[in-house]
């Protein structure tokens, strides 16, 4: 092969230094199934020992790769087996101590988030699931780095509406317990339909039961790179726009694949997947909303937003698929409101409604993400929003998620500040109509015919 091309070197440097190309996260998945014990104290000792032993070198290895390859790796994280499955073996009534153990382990190994304080209840609860879910508000209020998720629906099982109702209450309680910090506990809590077992992104990461003992999953990012690429084709038709996004996504993903393989080799842990996602941050030049606006929308949230997002999401996947040997996780464009400068602007201008966001989630990865709603929103209304989002996921065979933050004491238009990667957001209005009757019914919405594929 000829010497590296000057133009290619300059392009790569520009992508990293000017357009915010980065590896968003290297996430180590760790199975905790063998940590179950009759004594909670013993189980927690085993969990702490295993996480700190296996992930001990994660942060330094990530840092070394970042320096040698000259590409920023923003986060190093750990995802563990849904804790309800592990803690369920012990007699403890409350699982907050398990969250504290995970928090301590995360601090010890220097990772900023650890995911997996989770339960999978799409068809029903085990005793452990019940205790875990009841412990979520306190667990998120007393820990800093623990992330929690609950899967309430799948295409094959339908929607567990009892769990949906309970999660409405859990979100409200979590906000109340972290009221002094704008309800930040809710930023670490995701309610899923069709949760991905190998998702490396927080707050929804957990290490599924079909996963190996330990593996490395990588999430790439680069909304800024895509936007810059589109700036070069301002008059092109949408076929050219899609092609431009594909080419860019290919390059971004190749970087992710390289880092994933290198991390896997150095840590001696199998490589799982690369998650082909466009994950924005609140930094200027790192916004998915701005990509949609570059395509020709006055503001993200206006008519045409869903179509533009569908094009983007599809082109990212098509470009990324060839660049990695194993794609997985959520793989698609994210549209978190508080973590995206363009979304924050659109929400502040009052042109981004919850209903439009819901429509957009039908064509991209994940769902109603990092949206601040009025603090006095009824738990049943939160539950009904979760149910709507779950219905979109279940019917369309896709992952959907809800991460709503009822901002305590705040009304529509007021700003909520979470700081850091979690960003800031104006409170968005929620319909005042009651859905309490629907939510009170409970039970399980049967799996749709789409789930019966055999």
């Amino acid at each position: 092969m000829r010497f590296v091309d000057t133009a290619e070197v300059i392009e790569t440097l520009h992508m990293i230094q000017v357009e915010n190309l980065d590896i968003r996260t290297i996430t180590m998945g760790i199975s905790l199934l063998d940590c179950a014990a009759e004594s909670g104290t013993e189980a927690r000792r085993r969990i702490y020992d295993k996480v700190t032993r296996l992930a001990e070198r994660l942060a330094p290895v990530g840092e070394a790769i970042s320096q040698e390859f000259g590409i920023p790796i923003i986060n190093k994280r750990v995802a563990v087996t849904p804790l309800a499955l592990v803690a369920g073996a012990c007699a403890d009534e409350r699982y907050v101590a398990f969250a504290e153990t995970l928090d301590r382990a995360a601090k010890e190994i220097g990772v900023n988030f650890i995911g997996g304080f989770s339960a999978l209840v799409h068809k029903g609860y085990t005793a452990g699931d019940r205790r875990l879910i009841a412990s979520i508000p306190e667990a998120l209020a007393t820990t800093e780095r623990v992330c929690s998720s609950v899967n309430v629906a799948t295409t094959r099982a339908g929607i567990n509406m009892d769990a949906v109702r309970e999660m409405g209450e859990v979100i409200a309680q979590t906000a109340a317990l972290t009221a002094d910090r704008d309800g930040v506990g809710c930023a670490k809590l995701v309610v899923f339909a069709n949760a991905a077992e190998d998702n490396p992104f927080m707050a929804g990461a957990f290490h599924g039961v079909g996963e190996p003992e330990c593996c490395i999953n990588v999430g790439v990012s680069g909304p800024g790179v895509v936007k810059r690429a589109l700036e070069k084709v301002p008059e092109a038709d949408l076929g050219v726009v899609a092609e431009t996004i594909k080419r860019t996504a290919f390059k971004i993903t190749r970087m992710g694949q390289l880092v994933a393989q290198e991390a896997s080799r150095r840590l001696g842990v199998p490589f799982g997947i690369v998650d082909l996602s466009l994950a924005p941050t609140a930094a200027v030049g790192d916004s998915v909303a701005h990509i949609l606006e570059e395509m020709g929308l006055e503001r993200c949230g206006g008519p045409g937003s869903t179509a533009a997002l569908a094009l983007l999401n599809d082109a990212v996947k098509k470009g990324g698929l060839m660049a990695t040997s194993y794609a997985g996780g959520l793989s698609g464009a994210f549209i978190p409101v508080s973590e995206d400068a363009g979304m924050i602007e659109a929400a502040s201008a009052g042109v981004l409604s919850l209903e439009k966001l819901e429509a957009m989630t039908a064509v991209c990865s994940v769902g109603l993400d990092m949206i601040a709603i009025p603090g006095d929103t009824a738990p049943e209304t939160i539950a009904a929003i979760i149910a709507d989002e779950a219905a979109i996921g279940v019917t369309n065979h896709k992952t959907t998620a809800v991460r709503l933050i009822p901002a305590p004491g705040k009304a529509v238009g007021e700003m909520v500040e979470f700081g850091g990667l979690l960003g800031r957001a104006p409170v968005i209005g929620v319909s005042g109509l009651s859905s309490a009757g629907l939510i009170r019914r409970g039970g399980r919405i049967p799996a749709p015919t789409q789930g019966l594929r055999n």
Binding site: T6, T12, L13, G70, Q257, E262
Partner: protein, 89 residues
């Protein structure tokens, strides 16, 4: 292991001399150099091979960055794999 060094900045006398003598001190072999001036901006790309058995790229990066500062240019060093991965199918 091969690495790519990129030097970007305002052109001045002695950039190549300083960078290559630093590399010689560090036992880093230069395999190829390409250099252009783009609108008064000096752009140099080097393909290098550190001869140490277990080369410390981050240390080289810090050293080169210091050399760059004294010259008023920006110097990066990255593993060659980054560029082949991103631009070659």
């Amino acid at each position: 292991m091969k690495a790519v060094i990129s030097v970007l900045g305002k052109d001045r006398v002695g950039i190549i001399a300083r960078v290559s003598s630093y590399l010689a001190e560090q036992q880093v072999n230069i395999l190829d150099i390409s250099q252009t001036i783009l609108q008064d901006y000096f752009v140099m790309i080097m393909l290098v091979e550190p001869l140490a058995p277990d080369p410390d790229l981050p240390a080289l990066a810090r050293g080169l960055s210091a050399v760059g500062e004294s010259l008023g240019v920006q110097i990066n060093i990255q593993h060659e794999a980054v560029f082949t991965a991103m631009h070659r199918v």
